[in-house]
């Protein structure tokens, strides 16, 4: 397997990045199986709630309200968090966030740091940066350990190692933990991970976490997880640094009631996730004694300005959209070249990159709408995808090299043709004549030249019939008119 590149600035375009996976039947099987299991669990759990649509409406309204008043809630969060003994930092971009974190770690004289639930830290590529600066980061989420030790990258938001199977996990653990006799029995694998982790939990005094929610009312933070490793990270160290996107805030403590319900059911198909941790500032003699929150913008306030795309920030990272997505099911997450894969990645990543990179992602969808149907906060992903496609086209169409690009040429020509029925009819005739030599005796085309070859790679095309509908209509009308 080729090492995936999850940096939108360097990753190849989606159609190309998807190829290695499409040619890897084992990987596709792993992904299809895993997403099947999660979607069917989710389906069952959602079906047992009569008020699911009402919950979804409430969650959607709540998130929309937050985005409309984001400044207010963030200020409130800062004030309450500070009052409870936390320190709030604001980071405009990835570089600033990395510097803030590095400075805190240097003040702590840290040479190692344990991490939990930090997709946002992957967004800002924190691990390689820390390593370069002499600080060793240790992931503690079981899936993240597998990836870190296997020098791999996450391929899913909730199940980052979804593409790896059990025997691959055994190989990674056996090699990196020096356990040649390890079997692929799940209990043994978990025990090995536990032994490995205990040492880190008990010896590394500094931790970095992500956040599922920031609570404005209390200045508190919440993380939900399934293993309990997060809880170890959140309680044992002396110093805690939480890195969170600014959109993660919710107004009140009681809003968790709605958010936790929709999140657990959508994400893992459970009524409630096993571990929900909540903490507010510092408490003498209990838990971390120094607590920092780094609030990351990194393109988010730009997204907030755009009326239709703003809904992207409602996302609560449940991953239901990628499990439902037929494109993701075929390609897995690495093809997206971003830590945010699937439909949400397809709209979030190019926007975080200010639409300068990852421009193939808005096209990585057949617009089937399955993502919108499952999204618990009702993000109309297809609508945003189409909008972003228009942005990409607007950016590209003035580039000289696009002038003869078959797609741009074809679209411009088609528009001229469709503008007049006369021209359209002439084009229909030309198409019929032009494709005639390529059409077999049975009326089918087996191979098209140029751009069309991408269609006939796996599909035949029915030839153009001898009479268009409008020609039939005219001839029928003439026939009727005759006595």
């Amino acid at each position: 397997m080729i090492h995936p590149v999850l940096d939108p600035k360097l990753a190849p375009p989606f159609p190309k990045a998807a190829l290695p996976v499409l040619r890897n039947p084992q990987l596709r099987k792993n992904v299809a199986h895993a997403t099947d299991v999660i979607t069917s669990k989710r389906g069952r759990l959602v079906a047992e709630k009569d008020d699911w649509q009402a919950l979804r409406d409430a969650a959607s309204a709540l998130r929309a309200h937050v985005l409309e008043n984001l400044g207010t809630y963030l200020e409130q969060f800062e004030e309450r968090c500070t009052a409870a003994g936390g320190v709030v930092h604001w980071a405009a971009d990835a570089a600033e966030a990395r510097e803030i974190i590095l400075n805190i770690l240097r003040d702590e004289n840290a040479s190692e740091v344990i991490k939990i639930k930090t997709m946002t830290s992957a967004e800002i590529q924190l691990n390689p940066f820390l390593a370069q600066n002499g600080i060793e980061p240790h992931e503690t989420d079981l899936a993240e350990i597998i990836l870190q030790l296997g020098k791999d990258e996450p391929s899913h938001i909730v199940v980052p190692a979804l593409h790896v199977n059990r025997s691959q996990v055994r190989d990674i653990f056996a090699r990196t933990m020096h356990l040649p006799d390890l079997s692929d029995n799940p209990q043994e694998l978990t025990a090995a991970a536990r032994t490995y982790l205990r040492k880190k939990f008990l010896t590394v005094p500094t931790a970095i976490s992500g956040a599922n929610f920031l609570i404005a009312e209390t200045g508190g933070v919440s993380v939900v997880e399934s293993e309990g490793n997060g809880r170890m990270c959140l309680t044992l160290p002396r110093t805690m640094i939480t890195l969170a996107g600014i959109e993660k805030v919710i107004p009140r403590y009681r809003d968790l009631e709605i958010m936790l319900q929709v999140l657990a059911r959508s994400a893992t198909g459970e009524r409630m996730n096993p571990y929900t941790s909540l903490w507010t500032g510092v408490t003498k003699g209990d838990g971390p004694q120094r607590f920092h929150v780094v609030l990351l913008d990194n393109g988010r306030s730009d997204i907030l300005q755009r009326e239709r795309e703003r809904q992207t920030l409602k996302c609560i990272r449940c991953a239901a959209c990628m499990n439902a997505c037929p494109v993701y099911r075929q390609t897995g997450g690495h093809a997206y070249g971003s830590v945010y894969p699937g439909p949400i990645g397809a709209i979030l990543t190019p926007q975080l990159m200010k639409m300068e990179y990852a421009q193939s992602l808005p096209y990585a969808s057949s617009l089937c709408g399955a993502c919108y149907e499952v999204c618990p906060v009702k993000i109309n992903i297809p609508e945003v995808l189409i909008d972003l496609r228009a942005k990409v086209t607007d950016q590209e169409r003035n580039e000289e090299r696009r002038f003869f690009d078959p797609l741009y040429l074809g679209m411009r020509m088609a528009n001229k043709v469709f503008a007049s029925a006369g021209r359209f009819q002439a084009a229909q005739r030309m198409m019929r004549i032009g494709l005639k030599p390529l059409t077999g005796k049975d009326g089918w085309i087996r191979s098209l030249p140029a751009y069309g070859a991408r269609w006939t790679m796996t599909r035949d095309l029915r030839g153009v019939p001898q009479q268009s509908f409008r020609e039939w209509w005219t001839s029928r009308a003439n026939g009727k008119a005759k006595p």
Binding site: Y363, A390, W455, V464, S468
Partner: protein, 249 residues
């Protein structure tokens, strides 16, 4: 009842038999069908590929052309979805209030073919005869954007002789997606292969749908694979009778 048929560029050129069947059926049900030859395309291809200005010019053309129509019937669920879901934003962004007013007045009179038969004509048994085993592919736009629900099934169940074969993973996309099928040809093919497995497993003679774009995709793959199954638009099944069986290609 008078209805105007918007055949769509795609059906007009590549699937005229679908249009003929719509006319035949609607006339049989007592509808006076008119066809406005100035029509071309709804702009879906442009809009979905990011060519918003071009899509808008076609949207405007559509609204102007049908402003006075009693009813517009469209045998393509994705084109109806384009009109319902995308026209409002396009017009708001690039058009003017007059156009928006005309569009809002027109929209309730724009119907997808099966909606028109079931909701407007209030007919579920159209008196069709089609003695074959058939499976129904719920295209994404029919299923999610238009929420056609069980209308297509109600129509098919009343067809004499028809043996309806249930399709697994009914809600899964066939992978066509317009320009997606060439821009992401390999991914599209992989999705198509998965869909085709489910479709062929029904052991039906025909796969039907309310959108010829999905059927062109699946039909093209069936032909490539030498499959015995064929595709047919639902209008052709409903138009089919003992005296005038469907033209099957």
């Amino acid at each position: 009842m008078r209805a105007s048929l918007f055949i769509t560029c795609y059906n007009d050129t590549l699937f005229p038999e679908t249009g003929r069947a719509v006319v035949t059926l609607l006339e049989r049900l007592g509808v006076e069908v008119e066809f406005r030859p100035a029509q071309t395309c709804c702009g879906q291809m442009h809009a979905n590929t990011g060519f918003r200005g071009e899509a808008f010019s076609l949207a405007k053309q559509f609204v102007r052309l049908y402003a006075d129509a009693k009813a517009v019937v469209i045998p393509s669920s994705s084109c109806v979805a384009m009109i319902r879901d995308q026209y409002p934003a396009l017009i708001d962004e690039l058009g003017n209030q007059d156009l928006r007013r005309d569009f809002d007045a027109l929209l309730p009179r724009v119907h997808e073919f099966s909606e028109f038969v079931v909701d407007v004509l209030q007919v579920e048994n159209v008196g069709a005869y089609f003695p074959h085993r058939v499976t129904y592919h719920a295209s994404c736009h029919g299923l999610r954007a238009l929420e056609l629900g069980d209308r297509p099934f109600r129509l098919l169940k009343n067809v004499e002789g028809l043996d309806l074969a249930p399709l697994d993973h009914l809600d899964r996309c066939c992978g066509f997606g317009g320009t997606f099928s060439v821009k992401n040809a390999e991914v599209s093919s992989a999705m198509m292969t998965a869909k085709l497995q489910d479709v062929l497993a029904t052991r039906a003679e025909f796969c039907t749908a309310l959108d010829n774009s999905c059927l062109m995709h699946l039909g093209g793959a069936m032909h490539r694979e030498f499959a015995a199954m064929r595709t047919i638009h639902m209008a052709q099944i409903l138009a089919s009778t003992r005296e005038h069986p469907a033209e099957v290609l």
